[in-house]
Amino acid sequence: MGPVPRVITRLERPDRIGAILVRLGIGRGRYRVAPGLYAVGTPGPESPVLVTANYKLSFDSLRKELSGLDAWILVLDTKGVNVWCAAGKTTFGTAELVSRIRAVGLEKLVNHRKVVVPQLGAPGVAGHDVKASTGFRVVFGPVRASDVRAFLAAGMKATPHMRRVHFPALERVVVGLVEFANERKTMAQLACALFVLAGIGVDVFSFSRAWLGLWSGFAAYSLGFVAGNVLTPLTLPWLPGRSFSFKGAVAGAMAGLGVLALGVPGLTSAGLWLGSVVAGSWYGMNFTGSSTFTSPSGVEKEMRRALPFQAGGLILAVILWRFGLAGL
């Protein structure tokens, strides 16, 4: 094995700027760390081995907690995906951990036979299989990197609090921001559809009506988008119901009242408001994927109930909006 790169435990300006960009969905696929072994401080044969993913946000959140400590960091190749998501698809998994332990010759590097794996890696890493294949015992560390120091100080013992996933308001909003970049294509397609639908009529095509339809429709969509992707995550515990599509619809119904300020005819306003409700419901439902407590069985159940309402609501919204614009 060659020299081990030593990493610093302080995040610098490029790390912070990169983190903001990647949260907004910009350059996400490139935000990776080379898999392999890293050193923090001056680790020796007794130093702990901490396993993480090669998503730079995961790697950074771990290293910044380790100032003053001597430790090894073993980075798995998860194709630039965070620990929990990667564990769900087993790229952060038993096979990768076993082969990475072998590749870096971990048994020659340390005297102990333990690797600390983040608890959220457990859906992909079978501790007993890693032990059987490599002789290394998997010790599941805390959920949050911020608890790693206390976990190590306590002799690799996690308190029940460290073992639980929490989902505070700031975190909920931050993970929703990525939709602003994800939905760029949908937004462009929607704009084209609104323009064409509003423009065509018995008078062949009216540019003034197309323009009115475009900006009013897009304004209503944007209200629903913000309702589903920002308002719903922020107020998640207080919105009524369990289903995210319902919570999103409620947020969309409130945010959608903003269409009254557009000064468009009554029928159009009604259609636009309904459009906001549908968009809020749709994006709220999609937030299940970013949340930390929804089960696939539950999401499927809620989708089977919500999708007919969303589809019906969308059709009705388009009809009201288009008739309200007049000049068929």
Binding site: K79, V81, F167, G289, S295, V299
Partner: protein, 100 residues
């Protein structure tokens, strides 16, 4: 997670207490405190808190736990419906990744 509970009565988690040896690993890996904290064998104390991540089943050496493992993500389920395959999110891999 106060105030953050999901739809009840749907989780596919089950535990075979006969096969359980009480090693405690399921309690350790569960991020939502589904399993009981008593001594001896494991018990399911809060089934509706289960998000079906599969950590407990994978790490149960005795295979006493079964759960239909997956991600609770609408986008993944739509993807599964369209492709006819299992639900998968488009998180990661090369190109556009949408994971947090």
């Amino acid at each position: 997670m106060k105030g953050l509970r999901y739809i009840e009565g749907v989780a596919t988690l089950s535990l075979d207490q006969e096969a359980c040896t009480g090693c405690g690993v399921c309690r350790e890996v569960c991020p939502h405190g589904v399993f009981g904290h008593g001594t001896g064998k494991a018990s399911i104390e809060d089934l509706d808190a289960c998000m079906e991540c599969g950590a407990c089943a994978l790490n149960c050496r005795e295979k006493a736990i079964s759960v239909s493992q997956g991600v609770g993500c609408a986008r993944a389920i739509i993807h599964g419906w369209i492709s006819g395959g299992p639900p998968t999110c488009d998180c990661g891999g090369d190109g556009g990744s949408t994971c947090c």
